[in-house]
């Protein structure tokens, strides 16, 4: 029976030859992941289960990235609980503050998630790893506790939708713009319970960082997972990092899809998603014409915290200043990216421009710390959600964009296009 890549990965991990959409399966997980928001509950639930040891000390991964460096006493207590659990269990992949990065940037970088894997994470953006050709989905803490104990989880096999991206993107159009545009077409529940398989010549040409950004945001269309079949670019990324075997799987040409949608990327302009939903994506010109003043600009997050993202923002900021009374906050995804940004002089560019350059953290993306909005304030951010109250006060607003648009907005003090600064793309 022909199958999609999602179905093949689920079938392999369920120990069978095939699965069908709608089927309930129990499957082995390759990685079970939690952060400092979700791990404390998962650990408490794990301990209630009466199980002594986690199923595999190498494959239960704890990443304290949300409220770290410890924001307050409560955060310190939560990470202490994680640290103690990691020590007691002898976990090999607990990342202490100073070595930690944003989980969905860190795990691929460290070669801890690989093509063909089945990954559950107690974080909704676990779907990021679909960029590697893995099946990865977000679960809650209780599901994660069960996976930590048993190495298994139950799933309903999703039906797949196939998104075919063709054509050549215009200037300043990144993976972020393709996925915001797609969410705008599908709506925030358009892919509910489904797998979003992203394919086509424009995806073939999209570098890995853009693929991670796209897979990262499929949850914002309600999808269970997003997936991009591995190719040479994937293997170039994975080979130097992998420390265990992995499996390259592809969809069969005659696999069944709920439907196929074709997207001409030549028609996609840089996007800005207006509050309060990621589906409110519009061409940047619309935002520019509306004259939307901003108080804060955030570049970073599991969506756009990779070195290429920082390079794009730095290119815009080079020799320019953040507008008066505007705060710009840069959050590199990992310590490796932090170091690389230093070596390339990006940090100097940002600091000279008058921006904050932070240690890796999820921080303001979820209204945690490191840049919270007051009532009535407005931010443009390269993050993934613009829900009510997401970055602070319920009466604040978040607009979403790619890093170059965010940086141009920091310079202008209002939502702006890099073209307004006379810049031409690389």
């Amino acid at each position: 029976m022909p199958m999609t890549i999602t179905e093949k990965i689920l079938a392999r991990h369920a120990g069978g030859d095939e699965v069908r959409p709608g089927q309930l399966i129990e499957a082995k997980v390759d990685v079970a992941l939690a952060n400092d928001v979700t791990a404390p509950i998962a650990i408490a639930e794990f301990e209630k289960l009466g199980v002594e040891r986690v199923f595999d000390v190498d494959r239960v991964i704890l990443v304290p990235d949300h409220f770290t460096p410890n924001k307050d006493i409560k955060s310190a207590q939560q990470t202490k609980m994680m640290r103690n659990f990691a020590r007691r269990q002898g976990l090999t992949n607990y990342f202490e503050q100073g070595r930690v990065g944003i989980e969905h940037v860190l795990l691929p970088e460290q070669g801890l998630v690989l093509p063909g894997d089945l990954v559950v994470g107690a974080d909704s953006h676990t779907c990021t790893y679909g960029a590697l050709g893995a099946f990865a989905t977000g679960v809650g803490s209780t599901d994660l506790a069960a996976a930590m104990a048993t190495g298994k989880a139950w799933f309903k096999v999703p039906e797949s939708i196939k998104l075919v991206y063709y054509g050549t993107p215009g200037p300043w159009v990144e993976g972020k713009d393709l996925i915001l545009y797609t969410i705008g077409k599908l709506g925030v529940d358009g892919a509910l319970y489904q797998a979003m398989e992203m394919t086509g010549e424009a995806i073939d040409r999209l570098p890995m960082y853009g693929r991670f950004t796209m897979a990262n945001m499929v949850i914002e269309a309600g999808a269970k997972n997003g997936i991009i079949a591995p190719d040479d670019a994937t293997l170039d990324y994975v080979r130097p990092r992998a420390r265990r075997d992995y499996e390259i799987l592809m969809s069969d040409a005659d696999a069944d899809y709920a439907y196929v949608m074709e997207i001409d990327v030549a028609r996609v302009k840089p996007q800005v998603a207006f509050p309060p939903l990621p589906e409110n994506s519009r061409d940047v010109e619309t935002a520019v014409n509306a004259g939307i003043a901003v108080d804060q600009v955030v570049v970073g997050s599991c969506t756009n915290g990779r070195i290429e993202d920082l390079r794009q923002a730095a290119r815009v900021m080079a020799g320019r200043k953040v507008a008066p009374y505007v705060r710009m906050i840069i959050l590199p995804g990992t310590q490796e990216i932090f170091l690389q940004a230093m070596k390339e002089g990006l940090v100097e560019t940002f600091v000279n421009a008058g921006a904050v350059f932070s240690t890796p953290t999820c921080g303001p993306c979820l209204g945690g710390h490191m840049g919270i909005l007051a009532a009535g304030e407005r931010a443009i951010a390269t993050t993934n959600r613009n829900f009510v109250g997401r970055m602070g006060h319920p009466d604040s607003e978040v607009y979403l964009s790619n890093p170059a648009v965010a940086a141009a907005s920091a310079v202008m003090g209002r939502i702006a296009s890099p073209e307004e600064l006379g810049l031409t793309p690389d």
């Binding site: 509950i41 009466g50 209780t142 599901d143 509910l192 979820l366 209204g367 829900f387 997401r390």
Partner: protein, 164 residues
């Protein structure tokens, strides 16, 4: 039989409406966090609702984060079930795992503070105020069993393992 009155919330109620990050200093004290449940959608809800009442949503209830705090504090607040036209999948799964009943059915005819009765086993929602019934599909047996035990952990504690 679950009984209570309806509190209407529209489409796309996010986990940030239910349990916002700005209140996460309370995340290790869930009963306290529950006093703020759904505050950013309807600020009066937590203070005015009665035990047994229903949260009634539109489409895509619970979109966003995987934070289990969201269904947990709805349950802790005393809500007997969330009724919505559709749910975001992580929220739905978490709700079952923490023992919060979730009902998928049409909610357009339900008005604010209508008296509702829900029979989970029979798959029937009765609007007592307006005098009509909606049926809804029963959950798969394993999920019904998890709900009956009060969540996934009590279920595994009692049954030893999770068999599909």
């Amino acid at each position: 039989m679950l009984q209570g009155k309806a509190w209407l919330f529209g489409d796309d109620i996010s986990t940030d409406h239910i349990a916002p990050g700005r209140l996460f200093h309370l995340r290790s004290n869930l009963p306290e966090l529950a006093k703020h449940v759904l505050e950013d959608a309807r600020s009066e809800f937590a203070g005015e609702m009665s035990a047994g009442d229903f949260v009634v949503g539109g489409r895509n209830f619970g979109l966003g984060s995987s934070r289990e705090h969201a269904p947990t504090i709805i349950k802790l607040a005393g809500v007997s079930a969330v009724v919505a036209k559709s749910f975001a999948r992580i929220f739905f799964r978490n709700a079952i795992n923490v023992g919060l009943p979730v009902v998928i059915c049409d909610t357009d005819r339900i008005k604010e503070h209508d008296k509702l009765e829900v029979d989970l086993a029979a798959g029937v929602l009765r609007n007592v105020t307006r005098g009509y019934e909606e049926s809804f599909p029963a959950l798969p047996p394993v999920m019904t069993a998890i709900l009956q035990e009060g969540g996934l952990v009590p279920y595994v504690q009692k049954h030893g393992d999770l068999e599909i």
